[in-house]
C-alpha cells in the first residue's frame, strides 16, 4: 500500500549572500528528512525554532524562497511531485496539498471580503467559478463553524479565532488531501486554541484529511496527533507514536523537551535546556545535540548517530539507544 504522502531523504539548502568578513554562504536547513502520512492521519512536527520544521513543510508546498535548493523525493499517492523542482509542484499546490500559515489570521487581505478570498483559489484552480464558488465559500465557512452569511464581511469584522477558521476554510477550498498547519494556534487564547484543534481533528476524521501539525507546543501535539517527529538541527532526532515518545523517549532531546514543558497536574521541576540549536552553515561533527545533551558518550563527539528502530514504528538517532536498536535488529 502506498501512503498518501511519502517524504524521502529531503534536503534543503539556503544560499546566503556573502557578507563582508564571512564567505561561508550555505545553510543546510533540512538534512535528510523521511516520513510518511496516511489518509486521515494527524502527524506532528515538533522542535525549537530554527530546527527546520517550517522549511520542511514549505518544501512540500514548493514555496521555498528563490535562494533555496532542494534534493530528495516527495511522493503524493506515489507520484514524485518534486521531480522537476518547484515547477512540478504547482498543479498539486492547494489542490492536493494546502497550508495554513503561521499567523494566518493576519494574512487575510483587509480590503477584500472573506468569501471572495476563499473563492479566489477555486477560480484559479478551475474548481468552481463565480456564483458557484461563492456558494461553496459559504459552505466551507459553515464547515469550519462560521455562519455562511459572514462570507460577505471583511476580515476586520472577524475575531482572531474566526479569522484563523477562515484561513483554514481557504486552505480547504480546493478539497486538498493534505493540510499543513504551521503553528495554527500560537497567539490564540486557550479556549480558541481548543476550538481550532477540535476543528482540525474533526476535519481529519470526517474528510479523511491528512494533517501535518507543525508546532513547538508538545502538549498540543500530544493531544491531537497519533504520531510525531521531533526535529533537531534539520534532522529527525526521534519519531514514533506519541505514546512512545512521551512514555519511552529514546532521544535525550525528546525527554528534555517534555521536561521543559509545564503540565497542569505535573509534579517535579520544569527545567530548561541549556544552550541553543546549532548554526547549520557548517558540517557538524558527531551528534548535533551533543553540546546540550545531559548524558553524552565519548563517541558522540565524532560519530554521527543514525536514525534506527528502537521499537514499534519508533526510531531514534542516539548512541544511547544503540544497544536497544542492535537487539531489535538481531531479533528481526
Amino acid at each position: 500500500m502506498t501512503s498518501l504522502l511519502e517524504v524521502e531523504d529531503l534536503h534543503v539548502w539556503f544560499e546566503l549572500p556573502r557578507t563582508g568578513h564571512q564567505d561561508r554562504s550555505q545553510v543546510h536547513a533540512v538534512q535528510g528528512v523521511n516520513f510518511e502520512l496516511q489518509p486521515g492521519e494527524r502527524f506532528g512536527l515538533v522542535g525549537e525554532s530554527g530546527c527546520g520544521k517550517t522549511t520542511t513543510v514549505l518544501a512540500l508546498m514548493g514555496l521555498l524562497p528563490p535562494n533555496a535548493s532542494l534534493a530528495g523525493q516527495v511522493r503524493l499517492d506515489g507520484k514524485n511531485i518534486l521531480a522537476g523542482g518547484e515547477d512540478t509542484v504547482r498543479p498539486y499546490r492547494w489542490k492536493d496539498i494546502a497550508m495554513v500559515f503561521q499567523g494566518a489570521m493576519n494574512a487575510l487581505n483587509p480590503v477584500k471580503k472573506v468569501g471572495w478570498q476563499i473563492a479566489e483559489p477555486m477560480a484559479f484552480h478551475e474548481v468552481a467559478e463565480g456564483k458557484a464558488a461563492l456558494k461553496r465559500a459559504g459552505e466551507l465557512l459553515e464547515l469550519v463553524g462560521i455562519p455562511a452569511r459572514a462570507a460577505r464581511r471583511y476580515p476586520h469584522e472577524f475575531s482572531g479565532g474566526m479569522r484563523q477558521r477562515a484561513s483554514i476554510a481557504m486552505a480547504l477550498a480546493c478539497e486538498p488531501k493534505i493540510l499543513l498547519a504551521d503553528e495554527p494556534t500560537t497567539a490564540l487564547d486557550v479556549m480558541v486554541q481548543a476550538q481550532i484543534l477540535e476543528l482540525l481533528t474533526r476535519l481529519s476524521d470526517e474528510l479523511g484529511l491528512g494533517v501535518i501539525l507543525v508546532t513547538h507546543d508538545l502538549p498540543v501535539v500530544a493531544q491531537v496527533c497519533e504520531r510525531a517527529a521531533v526535529m533537531y538541527a534539520g534532522e529527525i532526532a526521534e519519531t514514533g507514536p506519541m505514546d512512545s515518545l512521551y512514555h519511552r523517549p529514546q532521544h535525550p532531546y525528546t525527554r528534555l523537551l517534555f521536561a521543559a514543558t509545564p503540565d497542569l497536574y505535573g509534579e517535579g521541576d520544569v527545567t530548561s535546556i541549556p544552550g541553543s540549536p546549532p548554526r547549520l552553515d557548517t558540517e557538524l561533527p558527531g551528534c548535533p545535540f551533543r553540546p546540550r545533551c545531559d548524558v553524552p558518550l565519548e563517541k558522540c563527539a565524532d560519530v554521527h548517530p543514525l536514525l534506527r528502530w528502537v521499537g514499534d514504528e519508533h526510531l531514534a538517532a542516539c548512541h544511547r539507544a544503540e544497544a536497544r536498536a542492535d537487539e531489535l535488529a538481531e531479533a528481526k
Partner: protein
Amino acid sequence: MSETQAFVPPGSVSADAVGSQSAVAVTTVADREPQIGAPLLEVTDLVTHYPLRRGLIDTAARRPRLRVHAVDGVSFRLDRGEMMALVGESGCGKTSTVQTILGMVKPTSGAVRLNGTDIAGMADRQMRPLRRTVQMIYQDPYESLDPRFRVRQTVEEPMLVHGIGSSSADREQLAVSALEQAGLRPAELFLDRYPHELSGGQRQRVAIAAALVLGPQLLLADEPVSMLDVSVRAGVLSLLDSLRKDAEMGILMITHDLSTAAHFADKIAVMYLGRIVEQGTASEVVRNPQHPYTKALLSVVPKRDPRDRSAPQILTGETPDPILVPRGCRFNPRCPVAVDRCRTEDPALREPAPAAIGHLAACHLA
C-alpha cells in the same frame, strides 16, 4: 570600577546589591514610610473604565456615552515573596489591571495600596519615587529593547532617570550585578552587545535586569515567556521564582497558560470580563476549581501525556464585549450550568462551602 570587585560569587553580589538599593529607595521615600504589617500590594475594588467617543449623531441624540468596563471591581492582595498569576482570555482585563497598578492608566475608582500607601490616581510627581518600587516586564523582548542600545545602555538608563549611582563606574557596577542577578554571567561579556546579538531568553533577562537595577519590591510581568522558545521558558520562569524566594519580591504575572501558572505561582486569580471570578492557592484552583469558567479553562489545557485525553469542555464564542456586560452573572451567556438566578443576580466573590480557606469563587452554584 575594578573587575575584581564585580567578581564576587553571584549569590552574594545579588543579595548585597538588592539590599543597598532598597535602602536607598527607603530613604528617598522616607516621607511615606511603609506601614508595618501592610501587605506589599493591596488592590481594593479597582475599577477602570474607558469612555468611548460618541459620534455626532449619538451626541445629538443624547444617547448615553458607552464605556469599556476593562476592570470592574477587582480586589486582591500580594505579599512579599509571593507570586500570583492572573489568568484569563484576551480582553478580560488582565493587562488593564496591571497598567492601572503601574499608574499608566488612572483608575475610575478603587484603591491600589503599595506598602499601605494608596497610589491610585496619585499625581505623577508624587508617584515618581514610588515607580522604582514597581517594575514591569513586558511580553516581547524583541520589541521591548531598543535595538540601537547596547545592553549597558538599556540597563543603565533607568538609573539615569531615577538619579541612581554617583558615577558611571558606579552605575556600571550596579548594571553588572543586576545582569548577574538576572542570570547573565559573566555580565562583562554582555555589556557591550546589541539586542540582535542575543537570543530571546537572553533578551528577556536583559529586560529583567533593567527592572532589577532599581531594586523593586514588586514585579509586574505581562506574559513574560510566551514569545520565548519552549527550551528557555523554564529558565526565565525559574529566575522569577528565585527573585521571589531569595530577594523577597512580590511578582504579579499575567499569563494565559494555566500549566505555567499551576507550576510557578503560589496563587491564581482567574479573570473574566473585568472581574476576578475565582482565586485561591494555585493547587486549590487547579485541583478543586469551583467556578464553571475555571473548570472550562482547565479542561481545555492540553496535557503532556497523550494517554490523558479528557474531553475538553469547549465554550462557544470568545470573551463577550466589555462594553455591554451581561446582566446578572457576567458569565451566564456562556455558562453550561446557568440557572434563572444567574441571569438576574450578580454573584459576589465568596468562599464556597467545599473549598479551602482563602479560596474564593463568584458563582451562585459553587
